[in-house]
Amino acid sequence: MENAAEEEAVGEGFDGARAAVLVAGLRRGFASGRTRSYDWRAAQLKGIVRMIDDKEAEIMAALHDDLAKPHMESYLHEISLAKAACTFALKEMKRWMKPEKVPTSITTFPSSAEIVSEPLGVVLVISAWNYPFLLSIDPVIGAIAAGNAVALKPSEVAPATSSLFATILPKYTDNSCVKVVEGSIPETTALLEQKWDKIFYTGNGKVGRIVMTAAAKHLTPVALELGGKCPVLVDSNVNVKVATKRIAVGKWGCNNGQACVAPDYILTTKSFAPTLVDAMKKTLEKFYGKDPLESPDLSRIVNAKHFRHLTSLLDDEKVSGTIVYGGQQDEKHLKIAPTLLLDVPHDSLIMKEEIFGPLLPIITFNEVEDCLDFINSKAKPLAAYLFTKDKRLEERFVKTVSAGGMLINDTALHLANPHLPFGGVGESGIGAYHGKFSFDSFSHKKAVLSRGFGGEAPARYPPYTPQKQKILRGLINGSIMALLLAILGWPRD
């Protein structure tokens, strides 16, 4: 149907011209109107569900290739969540698509008003490497549910998953309106030069700035799902065994710490630290055995570059000297064992940037208060965690710590709840998605107001007599008397 030449063009030497052809094709697809119908959207989502079911083994294999991701993690964190997002959208989409009636006031009486959701048009989704399946398909699901045409650029740092998408997604979805573009910096740059109706980016702050700067040229709205240093504040009055298990599964059970919501560092009091460290060591041994490098339940580090970055964080003697558990590395297999560090210097590199790996610093202060101050002295993270039984501390934490999302007494779970918006604030990002928030993220909420020709108010128009001005004041302030006078056509012409 669409140009074979166009199809050919996509994927070899993808430059600005080819990107323009791609976008033009998507615009034609969108302009045809087909993406707007419920049936089309439902068909695409059902196609994606079938794709996930049919290709589960291939997806798990690709994730294992890219990240040595344990099958359990692939299932739990990528496949299930992706499928759940589809089925949730399929279930709720009719409701989301319905216009929302809103009340009107005396000022506009008689009138009726509603808010109509419409697709933005042609959107670009740029995904990340750590959850390469989920973070690609999840925003695409939202874009499709909202009725858009969409181009997906999976991360080249997870090449097996990227090429899997390029192969299977076109087989299960409408190729004229859903496209995959593989590539790295040149291809992404070419895509960013085009005019999109929205750009959805998951990744780091440095590239986030590049994406937003490119979007500024066309005044394209963006959603940026970034990261940050997610703190875990651990109070002394907790069930320490459960707490360490939940922290551990959120840290090393999530791609070996390479997750935007993984606990980045722990804060606790000096007095509680020994108990906490002890419990954490026990938990880690229970999870990963005495030789964690051999455990099949840990992802590897994604590539050599990131491996070197992580190990360089330990180069500083003042940092490596604080290791109290772990520290084992296997460069050949890109494995780093869960590593605990106690009281690294606050100004060390490991405490400056998002770690995104299996190193977990534990910072101690005399008072819990000081821990809160420390969190607030840093950039707003994507998630912040607190373990405590103290309700007052819980309230203070919720009130004074700003983060994309927050969990009390657990980690990472919130991203599985489709009723919670998932996104950052400040340095950790712009915009949110999941569930209806995905639909809204890719929609324009059009205000539609309907009036009749009655209820005219000559008071609105010149010449402005004092009488008119009085009625006008009343009308704007919702006075029934003014409304009546206006309806009766006062003042008479």
Binding site: R27, P70, H71, M72, E73, L76, S80, A84, V102, T104, S105, T107, T108, A113, V116, G121, G205, R209, T213, A215, A216, K217, L219, W252, G253, F287, S295, E394, V398, S402, G404, G405, L407, I408, N409, H414, N417, H419, L420, V425, G426, E427, G429, I430, G431, K445, K446, A447, V448, L449, S450, R460, Y461, P462, P463, Y464, Q469, L472, I476, D493
Partner: protein, 494 residues
């Protein structure tokens, strides 16, 4: 203002925010109440400033700016507590006991740029939202409306918390210096050209922005059988062209689309209405300055455009006055049909040739009013589309097939006064919406909070992930409680 001055202001406001005082309900209430007092007590001052900057009649000033602000601040005060209250969200029974909620919190320090055409209204409307959401604010009004800027600077410092809410006056250089600082959100009303500069600067700090732009907002004029309806409709069109700020209004009617056969009726009614509203022209705002006057004069200077003027057309560069002007079918490739007019010139379009979707038509035959849809779709998305029609089918088609910030049937301007409707653009007309609760949301971060307890652990969550754990997780993820229970009780395997 020196850059040290700008940086100093930004730092002061940041310090004020970090003290935490803007977060309390009491502070927000006190500021909104102070705004209420400002709007009542300083009415004369506002009228004077707007008269000086734009020659605005006080009725217009009240109707379009002061009155609207009073309504908005009252609405915010009434609803503030409700907006600030976290709202519960459902959580799967499986994760019992768990409580989920959405907690709104201020973003921090907001920078507001406002435009010159409604200099007080467009400054204080976003300010109301930013205050309601608990932020500290720096407002930079447009230097093209200096009397209003001065008014704002004086009255904001007199009535509001001057450490947390500041007004910075100046031109583009001051704007530039402000953009170098780090803000938690930037709200911009103005032109696309400047919006690009603002967004690019914001990108350096990953600062979210909202941009309220404009565009060519059309009015579709269907045939209306009742003469009274036609009279009302045309008054409303005039009410969206010359009545507000002499057409210098983002939600004004830029041009009208009508079937050729009905154009004469429309034109006659327009002329009659203009005569009724403007026996003299003293109720008409003037053009803001020489630069815009020149720009508008240039739009009708082109002989092929000037030839289509059927009413008005006189200009006075001394008084910056342009007579209400109507044009019938100016060439579609002329600037007047490609740039937002933002002035008292009204093109009526009837002659158009069949257009290919996605390319701009040069000649387009409006055979029937439905063709307006295609015409509008071929152009950038406007801030608002107006349509005067009683035809239900046409209404549905317009709603479904066009995209715009807002869509209003059978009236004009008034959607701006609805607190329950979001106000903002899409595509070329901008992004981000405000008014009413949308203002509160625009300047808030909605934080997701999930609270759990230490009871009820599911050990199959944790490594080592032996094979037996996976089926458990499958049941969990399918919210298949029965199977899960059976598994937990050991009554089901595999």
């Amino acid at each position: 203002m020196e850059s040290v001055g700008v940086e100093g202001v930004a730092n002061e406001v940041r310090t004020a925010y970090e003290s935490g005082k803007t977060r309390s309900l009491a502070w927000r209430r006190s500021q909104l109440k102070a705004l209420q007092r400002l709007l009542y007590e300083e009415e004369e001052g506002m009228f004077r400033a707007l008269k000086q900057d734009l020659g605005k009649h006080q009725a217009e000033a009240y109707r379009d700016e002061v009155g609207i602000l009073i309504k908005s601040v009252n609405y915010a005060l009434e609803n503030l507590k409700k907006w600030m209250t976290p709202c519960r969200v459902p959580v799967p029974l499986l994760t019992f006991p768990t409580r989920g909620e959405l907690v709104p919190e201020p973003l921090g320090v907001i920078l507001i740029f406002s435009s010159w055409n409604f200099p007080i209204g467009l400054s204080l409307e976003p300010l109301i939202g930013a205050i309601a959401a608990g932020n500290a604010i720096v407002l930079k009004p447009s230097e093209l409306a200096p009397a209003s800027s001065n008014f704002l600077a004086k009255s904001v410092s007199k009535y509001l918390d001057s450490m947390s809410v500041k007004v910075v006056r100046g031109g583009p250089d001051v704007g530039q210096k402000l953009l170098e600082q780090k803000w938690d959100k930037i709200f911009f009303t103005g032109s696309s050209r400047v919006a690009r500069i603002v967004m690019a600067a914001a990108a350096k700090h990953l600062t979210p922005v909202a941009v309220e732009l404009g565009g060519k907002s059309p009015a579709i004029f269907d045939s209306l059988s009742s003469a009274r309806d036609r009279k009302v409709a045309v008054e409303r069109i005039v009410g969206a062209k010359w009545v507000p700020c002499s057409g210098q209004v983002c939600i004004g009617v830029d041009y009208v689309l009508v079937e050729e056969q009905f154009a004469p009726i429309l034109i006659d009614q327009l002329k009659a209405t203009l005569e009724k509203f403007y026996p003299r022209f003293d109720c008409l705002s003037r053009i803001i300055n020489g630069q815009h006057f020149q720009r508008l004069s240039n739009l009708i200077k082109d002989p092929s455009v000037a030839a289509t003027i059927i009413h008005g057309g006189s200009l006075d560069s001394e008084t910056l006055f342009i007579e209400p002007t109507i044009l019938l079918d100016p060439p579609l490739d002329a600037e007047i049909m490609n740039e937002e007019i933002f002035g008292p010139l009204l093109p009526i379009i009837t002659v158009i040739v069949h257009v290919q979707v996605l390319t701009l038509p040069s000649r387009f035959q409006l055979k029937k009013i439905e063709d307006s849809i295609e015409f509008i779709r071929a152009r950038p998305k406007p801030l608002v589309i107006y349509a005067f029609t009683k035809d239900e089918k046409l209404r549905s088609r317009i709603t479904a097939e066009t995209s715009s910030g807002s869509l209003t049937f059978n009236d004009t301007m008034i959607q701006f006064a609805c607190d329950e409707l979001p106000f903002g653009g899409v595509g070329g007309s901008g992004f981000g919406q405000y008014h009413g609760k949308f203002s509160f949301d625009m300047f808030s971060h909605t934080k997701a909070v999930l609270r759990r307890s230490f009871l009820l652990e599911f050990t199959f969550r944790y490594p080592p992930w032996d094979a037996w754990k996976l089926p458990f997780m499958r049941s969990v993820y399918h919210f298949d409680y029965v199977t899960l229970l059976l598994r937990v009780l050991g009554l089901k395997r595999g």
